[in-house]
Symmetry: C2
Subunit: 326 residues, 2 copies
Amino acid sequence: MRLASFAFLACLAATPALADPLPSWNAGDTKSAIIEFVEAVTTPGSETYVDPAERIATFDNDGNLWAEQPFYFQLQYALDTVKQMAAEDPSLAEKSPALKAAAEGDLEGVLAGGEKGLLEIIATSHAGMTTDQFKQSVADWLAATKHPKTGQRYDQMIYQPMLELLAYLRENGFKTYIVSGGGIDFIRVFSDDAYGIPPEQVVGSSIKAEYKVIDGEAVTVKLPELFFYDDKEGKPVAINHHIGRRPIIASGNSDGDLQMLEYATMGGGPGLAILLHHTDADREWAYDRDSKIGHLDKALDEAAEEGWVVVDMKQDWRTVFPWELE
Amino acid sequence: MRLASFAFLACLAATPALADPLPSWNAGDTKSAIIEFVEAVTTPGSETYVDPAERIATFDNDGNLWAEQPFYFQLQYALDTVKQMAAEDPSLAEKSPALKAAAEGDLEGVLAGGEKGLLEIIATSHAGMTTDQFKQSVADWLAATKHPKTGQRYDQMIYQPMLELLAYLRENGFKTYIVSGGGIDFIRVFSDDAYGIPPEQVVGSSIKAEYKVIDGEAVTVKLPELFFYDDKEGKPVAINHHIGRRPIIASGNSDGDLQMLEYATMGGGPGLAILLHHTDADREWAYDRDSKIGHLDKALDEAAEEGWVVVDMKQDWRTVFPWELE
């Protein structure tokens, strides 16, 4: 009798499927499409069953796992860092118009400098130190800085529904990856705590590095030169390079994710593309075709043509940020 | 009583620690040093305890997990492929002395062409196809080709003691990686079957790739241009790029692994460097300072200075290849 009771309790404990795995997603076509796909690839005997080893899900970061307005958070880190460096060494601001604009916190001036100016700012703020020193600098910045609109730490401005989706996929045997146009070492500082994604499952843009032994310590030092830009066509290339498998779920929110969404769905096997559309000016931001940040135009058209799952943030998400639940 | 018996049996089944985890390693200092290190970093409460998430072990491949004589197996694949391509299109052999030598199977001529000639051969044999096509080509070649000395498939010429070490580390919570100067996509074809190392845990050299949609299929196509050479100083850089953590065990056999062994042991925390010395001309090969393949000179000196674990193949390994156990 005691054994039987125990077995009954064990069965109860083993049926979390009865609970809603995505409580922050409103009921509707979007939520159903995601759950149906996951069930189709994980149900043994299903025609579309996928071996656990091949259950790879790739997520863009900026504007997809965390917010990206008024502009990419990593750019804010870069500007803050250049400003601090220029305060210690004023000659820095005289080196170029872009660095001067950054030192003065003049975002318009920074953006006017185009890609060349941005790369200069990234090189100045991200290079010339060991990888560990860089990560410490990012961690310090995250701890000290608040978002201008919400007053929250940047690494709290993550999307509750996406946290639930990541956890749901992992519970179903998926390996979850970040594949971001943002910096690989920048994201690694918070990805594990914020999303449960360990450093080895982060793919991103990077600058070159060199190996050195300094005072008996073996280190890598970051160099002011681009190594790989992980955006658009670069995303499938980086996925193949880092993971060596084609994702069966890809999730993004901008034209920078278009090729990754194609890569997950145009491979001959089952594939799900999830495109997040920022439609909620009240709880978050609303932007798409006209936005410089998170520009979403071609991918929105292709999503309609290809029947991809488009998440309407305003309609599909019951909660946006975790603090709303507190 | 029946419950007690069951518990007793369960306990028996749960005590594999009583069995020798490394049966193909002879008892001695080498084996003891490895086991003592693993126990030191995995015993809770130990001063040198390392969290499972940080238990990263990186292994060189050529001459370390599988053999590399009379020359790197991937080079044999490249030569065989160029030969086959030249049979279909004889004009290929007229393009350069290196390609002519490769087409004629003239190894001396190939090596005389130096690094430039080798890169030409790699570019010709590894590029111009999709990543999937390349992997299929490697799989076909592995299935059809035998090693000239042993008559075994190349992917059978793997080291039994290393298979046991990989399994032992994984049982102790380690994540095992390949970090090779060889090609990342080449190794991924057999790494899971041969070593239990999945594609996403393979780091290696690579050529560039581009993304394309061909007849509705999204693919990556390999380009005839080097992307990253994962050797010497490149290994710690690639480890940081792919894994984002410092290994606490690194294992290699040549000067190409020197910096990786430093990286694992010169980071301030516990670290173990394992250097395999090929000393067994009877069962395998004996070579070190004078060999062009698997050149081992500086790393042997540094191993002595730093007290790294040097594996003397002849003395420390009871078995070399798995087929010896059959």
